[in-house]
C-alpha cells in the first residue's frame, strides 16, 4: 500500500531509558553518525517522526523519544517542568552514550531546544528550530493562541481542538491540496498520539517559561530557523529578525509551508537540516 509506512504510529518493543527517579522514556535511535535528536511539541510522539526523518537516518543517527508523562514514556504524579524536560534530554543522551547532538525543535519544543542549549552547552552542537515560538520581543501571540487551544480542549474536547488548530497550523496550500480526506486522516493521528489529559498538561506548561528574546543572544551554537512563509506566528521578515538575535543564526524560508513546515515538505525540510549539519560540522 502506498501509504503503509506513513504515519505508522506503532511503538517498537524496546527497553525504556531511565533518566531520573521514576522516569523511563520510550525512545527510538535509527541510523549512524552525527546525532540529531528530535523534540516533540506535546502534540506528536516519537513514532510520528519516522516519516519526517526517513532521509536523515540514511546519513545521521536520529533519536526520537516521548516526553515524560506522554505517549509510551512513564507517568509520574507531578507534571515535569521545563528544567526537568531538559534534564531528561541529557539523561537520554547519557544513556545512549551521545556526547553531543543537534536538536530539532518544533513549535513549543523550540523553547526546550533553546533551554537545553543554554543549560548544557557542551551537549548541543546546533539548533534546528522549526516554526519557533521565539520572538523579537517575547511571544504574546503564541501564548494567546496556546491559551485559546487550552480553552477549546477543556470546553469542547479533542476533535474540536483539532478543528480549530488545523486552519491555524496547517498551511493554506496543504489545506487545499489535502481536502477533507486529508483533514480527517491527520485527525486520526492527532487523536491517537495524545490523551486530553496529556494535551492539557502540555499546553499548560507551554503557558509558562521565559520568552525573553535576550536569551537568544546567549545561544552560542549555530542555529537555523526553518520557517514556513505561511506560519501563523512569524512572518518571513520576523523570522530573519529572530535569527539575527542568535550570535550564529540564520533563517531558511520554506515556501507555502505552515507552522509545522516538515508536514508540508518532508524532503525539503530534511535537505535544510542536512545542509545545516554539514556546514556546522565543517566548522567544528
Amino acid at each position: 500500500m502506498s501509504g503503509e509506512d506513513h504515519h505508522d504510529l506503532s511503538y517498537h518493543d524496546t527497553p525504556r531509558i531511565r533518566t531520573r527517579e521514576g522516569v523511563e522514556l520510550y525512545y527510538e535511535s535509527t541510523g549512524e553518525g552525527t546525532a540529531i535528536t528530535c523534540l516533540n511539541n506535546f502534540f506528536i510522539n516519537a513514532p510520528f517522526w519516522r516519516e519526517y526523518t526517513d532521509e536523515l537516518v540514511q546519513h545521521h543517527r536520529v533519536v526520537t523519544y516521548d516526553f515524560c508523562n506522554h505517549g509510551a514514556s512513564s507517568r509520574i504524579a507531578q507534571e515535569p517542568t521545563w528544567e526537568e524536560h531538559a534534564a531528561d534530554v541529557i539523561g537520554l543522551l547519557d544513556a545512549l552514550e551521545i556526547e553531543s547532538t543537534y536538536l530539532i525543535g518544533t513549535s513549543a519544543s523550540t523553547q526546550l531546544a533553546r533551554d537545553v542549549a543554554l543549560e548544557y552547552p557542551d551537549r548541543v552542537k546546533g539548533l534546528i528550530l522549526a516554526g519557533p515560538v521565539l520572538g523579537t520581543k517575547g511571544m504574546r501571540r503564541h501564548r494567546q493562541l496556546n491559551r485559546s487551544w487550552l480553552l477549546t480542549l477543556k470546553s469542547h474536547g479533542m476533535a474540536a481542538l483539532y478543528a480549530q488548530m488545523y486552519p491555524e497550523v496547517i498551511s493554506g496550500e496543504m489545506n487545499e491540496e489535502s481536502g477533507t480526506p486529508g483533514f480527517l486522516g491527520l485527525r486520526e493521528s492527532f487523536m491517537a498520539m495524545s490523551t486530553p489529559e496529556e494535551l492539557t498538561n502540555g499546553l499548560t506548561l507551554v503557558q509558562s517559561g521565559d520568552t525573553s528574546s535576550e536569551l537568544l543572544s546567549r545561544v552560542q551554537q549555530p542555529t537555523v530557523i526553518v520557517l514556513g512563509d505561511d506560519d501563523i506566528l512569524l512572518s518571513p521578515t520576523r523570522g530573519h529578525e529572530v535569527a539575527a538575535l542568535f550570535p550564529n543564526g540564520r533563517c531558511e524560508i520554506m515556501p507555502n509551508a505552515g507552522h509545522v513546515p516538515f508536514l508540508d515538505d518532508p524532503a525539503g525540510f530534511q535537505a535544510i537540516v542536512r545542509k545545516f549539519v554539514e556546514e556546522a560540522e565543517a566548522h567544528v
Partner: protein
C-alpha cells in the same frame, strides 16, 4: 443487516484490497475492529476516504465525527445513512 449494508461493506473491503495490493491484510480485519489499531495508518486512511468518494459518489465533510472513521462497520453505516 440490509442487502445495501452488506454491499457497502463488501465494496469497502474491495477498496482496502486494492489499497493494500492484496487481501492478506484485509482478510484478518473484522468489520467492527478499529482500523487504526489494526494497522491502517492515517495516510492509508486518507487513500481509503478518497477511494470511497469515487466509489460511492459523495464527498466527505469536515464535520464527520471521529467515530465514523473507526471501522468498516462505521464507514459503511455512514454511507448507508447518506443513501437513505
Amino acid at each position: 443487516m440490509s442487502d445495501t449494508s452488506v454491499e457497502v461493506r463488501q465494496r469497502i473491503r474491495e477498496l482496502l484490497v486494492d489499497l493494500f495490493n492484496g487481501d492478506r491484510f484485509v482478510g484478518t480485519v473484522s468489520d467492527s475492529v478499529s482500523l487504526r489499531e489494526a494497522g491502517v495508518s492515517s495516510t492509508a486512511l486518507v487513500s481509503l476516504l478518497v477511494a470511497m468518494e469515487d466509489a460511492f459518489g459523495f464527498e466527505w465533510d469536515d464535520d464527520v465525527q471521529p467515530e465514523v472513521l473507526r471501522s468498516i462497520d462505521s464507514l459503511a453505516g455512514y454511507v448507508v445513512a447518506l443513501r437513505n
